[in-house]
Structures are given as C-alpha cells and as structure tokens.
C-alpha cells in the first residue's frame, strides 16, 4: 500500500537552513547538505527546500546547492523559491531535483502552472499555498510573498477556489501551509485540511503546526493527507523521525519503516 509521507522542510537563506516563528525572526539551524543527508538516513520520505528569500528578493534560488544535494541524497526532493519561468524550473530539475514548488509566481501568473506541466509533466509541479484563516470573516484566504514580512500580502483568492484552480491548470501536488499554525506547534489545522482534502484530487501535503507525534497521527487519520511536512520539530530534535515512524506504525498507519 502507498505509505503516508513524512517530509522535513528545510527553509534556506543564503545557503543555510533557517527557521522562524510564523514566518518571522529567522534563526540559522545549520548547513544544507549535512542536514539533508542526516534526514535521508533517519528515514525521511522526501525533503523540501524552500529558498524563503527568493520570491521576495526577485532572484532565483542559488543553484549550486541543488546539485550538491542531488549527489548525496537517495530520496526524492523538491525545490521551491522564486521559480518564475519554465527556464528557471528546467535548471533546477536538470541539477537533480525531482520536483519544483511554485507559490507567489503562480499567483502573479497562473498560466505558469500549465507551462510547467506541459514542459516537465504534472508529477514535477507542486503548488505551495499559504492560507490564513481570518477569524473576523471566517474565510480562508491565500497570502503571497510570505518569505518577507514587509511584503506579505493578502491576495484576491479564497483558498478553496485557488486550490481548485491550480488543479485545473496542471498541479501534480499541493502543499497547504496553514499560516495561523505555522511554527507554534499546536497541531495541524485539521478543520481546514479536511475541507481542502475534499476538493483535492492530487496528493495533498499538510504544513504548519506539528509539535508532537500525535499531531502527525491526527492529520493522517482525520484529514487523510498524503504527507505531513514539518520543520522545527525535526531541526530541534523534538521529534526524532525513527521514533515518529514507530509511533505511527503502532497506530496501524501505512508508513515506510
């Protein structure tokens, strides 16, 4: 049976892995390649590298580290950050990334999703969605430029509408980052993920809020997501991946040991 995926996310700035709280105050965690290698060896099912400054600075991800990761990693990995064109994506895939993830540039120019799908196939095209729950209006809304607090802004899209639109355009996978939960380790946004799951016919990855092993069990059991992405709990050693997998296996979830 297809296993649920555990996906450490490494936010990258200037070649270092960093992590902030609710997208702010980034602190350096370590070098990319040794961290990536360690995660692969511990049993991570996939890795995501986000160049969190790229979209905001108007530059593409620094390319050299993609090649260095491809040399040492024997599990799939995805690169995100500032990919604005087929040419940008082609370079990153050529260097050995398995997928590219697009967020703000797809909001600026949605046809980019179709161009990527036609050029590289649906399986390469991941769409990242930063979704914020507005308690006043009760609406889930898509935000962009979340890598830079000063430029972060609400878009005209409701999350559910954008999620449907990106699938029509050719997205092969969706990473839904629930911004209210990001970095605070109180659990994934199960209500939102359940809602989006029903409208998502491609693999859906939950992001934002993991703080305990139980949160992973909850999101798989209650929101039926294909993968769960997390950062700080892995980087800070709060949840070792082998222990997490043993815990989930005991819960009878389909997990690659």
């Amino acid at each position: 049976m297809l296993a649920r995926r555990i996906i450490p996310c490494l936010d990258v700035r200037d070649g270092k892995v960093v992590k902030g709280v609710q997208f702010r105050n980034h602190e350096i965690i370590g070098d990319i390649v040794p961290l990536a290698k360690a995660y692969a060896e511990q049993g991570a099912d996939e890795l995501v590298f986000y160049d969190i400054t790229a979209s905001s600075d108007g530059r593409v991800v620094d390319k050299s580290w993609v090649r260095r990761i491809a040399e040492v990693i024997d599990i799939p990995f995805c690169v995100a950050g500032g990919i604005k064109s087929v040419a940008d994506a082609g370079l990153i895939l050529e260097m050995g990334a398995d997928k590219i993830s697009v967020n703000s540039p797809a909001l600026a120019r949605p046809e980019l999703i179709s161009e990527l799908e036609h050029s590289f196939g649906q399986q390469c095209v991941v769409i990242g969605i930063d979704s914020f729950f507005d308690k006043e209006t009760g609406l889930y809304q898509v935000y962009q430029f979340t890598g830079d607090e000063s430029r972060t802004q609400k878009t005209r899209w409701l999350t559910l509408d954008w999620l449907k639109r990106v699938q029509e355009l050719g997205a092969g996978e969706i990473v839904l980052n629930c911004m209210n939960q990001d970095g605070v380790r109180q659990g994934y946004d199960l209500t939102q993920l359940q809602l989006m799951r029903n409208a998502c016919k491609v693999p859906l990855i939950a992001s934002g809020g993991a703080g305990a092993m139980q949160h992973f069990a909850d999101v798989f059991e209650q929101a039926d997501v294909d993968g769960a992405l997390a950062a700080s709990v892995f980087h800070k050693g709060i949840i070792p991946i082998p222990e997490l997998k043993a815990f989930l296996l005991e819960r009878k979830l389909e997990i690659r040991p």
Binding site: M1, L2, A40, D74, I75, D98, Q123, G172, D226, R256
Partner: protein, 200 residues
C-alpha cells in the same frame, strides 16, 4: 564495464547519474550512436510524457539503435514504459522491446499521480530473478506516475494502487522499473547494483 545513460532529453538524468556515482560507477551520459552501441550496459531514464519522449528519441535517431541493442538495458519510470509496445499517453507506438501496453491508471477515488513509497509483490515466476535479488515484499520504493503497464507475462513484480499494475518488467536482458530506484534509498540502490551484476 561501461554504463551509458541514454540522453533522452528528459529531466531525471542527473539524479540517475548521481545514483550510480554513489555505487562507484562513473556512467557516461550520451546520445551518440557509437557510444551507445559500444556500452556494456544501457540505462534509459525518463520523466514526462510518452509522446514527447518518443519524439525526442526519433529526433536523436535513437529508436533503431535501442531496438537493436544487445546489451542489458534498464528503463526507469517513463523509460520503462517506452520499452513496451504502445502507450495510451499521447497514443504512441513505443520501442516494442518488452510486450506490454501502457494505460492510464484506474484508481477509483484515490489520488493521481500515484506519488510516494509503495511495496512490490514479486511474481511466482520471478522469485529468483537476479534483478530482484534481496528485494522483498516489505521493501518500499518511490513511485511517481499516472500511467502504468498492465500486468502481463512480462511482469516480474507488481504493485497495487487502486488496481494491480506492473512495477518491474523484463524480457531476456531488457528490463524496466516503474519506480525510481535512484530515489528509493537503500532498496533502490540494491536494484541498481543487481542490474550492474546482471548477466541474463
């Protein structure tokens, strides 16, 4: 031993190259007909769509060379699908090296693409096949695809996602894997090593 990764113009060439580097094999990536003819082993990578990939092979004048190849040959993912007779993806004739038809996966309510780690079920007739040596039914391999080869006499191992499909196929020394061994951790490395040792 000279391993040549056939430069099909598809995107996963460098990850396949790196996987062999990790096994201590310096593969050549080439689209040169004489280099391909003189290789002791061939690897056909591939991601993307079948019609485009066959068009690439035609533009590069590689179709006859691959059809006449006598050395052991392994196709990976789309590269495996290209070894069969025909693909429904773009409705295109393939290389015809291994009997089989590529069809869109029938998965019911499950999600497509079939993306992630899944297990194999080795066919009775392939229990001792050298490509699958040391690979068991508890091992997970990494898949990413929406089209698949229907199970047939050429199937060495199958996988299930909504319905059964061929995960590993073979005829003589022509072999194919639907998953990505270059991205399947130690189990995938084992399969690549088995291919390097394959004398069938």
């Amino acid at each position: 031993m000279s391993l040549v990764i056939v430069d099909t113009g598809c995107a996963n060439i460098s990850s396949v190259y790196c996987a062999f580097q990790r096994l201590g094999v310096d593969a050549k990536v080439s689209r040169d007909l004489s280099v391909i003819k003189n290789a002791s082993r061939l690897l056909v990578p591939g991601v993307g769509a079948a019609r485009q990939a066959m068009a690439n092979l035609r533009d590069r004048d590689l179709i006859a060379t691959l059809q006449q190849a006598e050395q052991p040959l392994l196709g990976i993912c789309l590269g495996m699908q290209l070894l069969t007779d025909r693909s429904e993806e773009g409705d295109v004739d393939c290389l015809g090296l291994i009997p089989g038809q590529v069809k869109r996966m029938q998965v019911g309510d499950l999600r497509l693409p079939h993306m992630g780690w899944n297990t194999l079920q080795v066919e009775e007739s392939a229990q001792n096949h050298p490509l699958l040596k040391g690979i068991g039914e508890k091992d997970y391999l990494y898949f990413v695809h929406s089209f698949a080869v229907a199970p047939s006499d050429s199937t060495l191992a199958r996988c299930n996602y909504g319905s059964d499909f061929a995960a590993v196929i073979g005829k003589g020394n022509k072999l194919g894997a639907q998953f990505h061994p270059e991205r399947s951790g130690a189990v995938g490395a084992r399969l690549l090593q088995n291919f390097l040792a394959f004398n069938g």
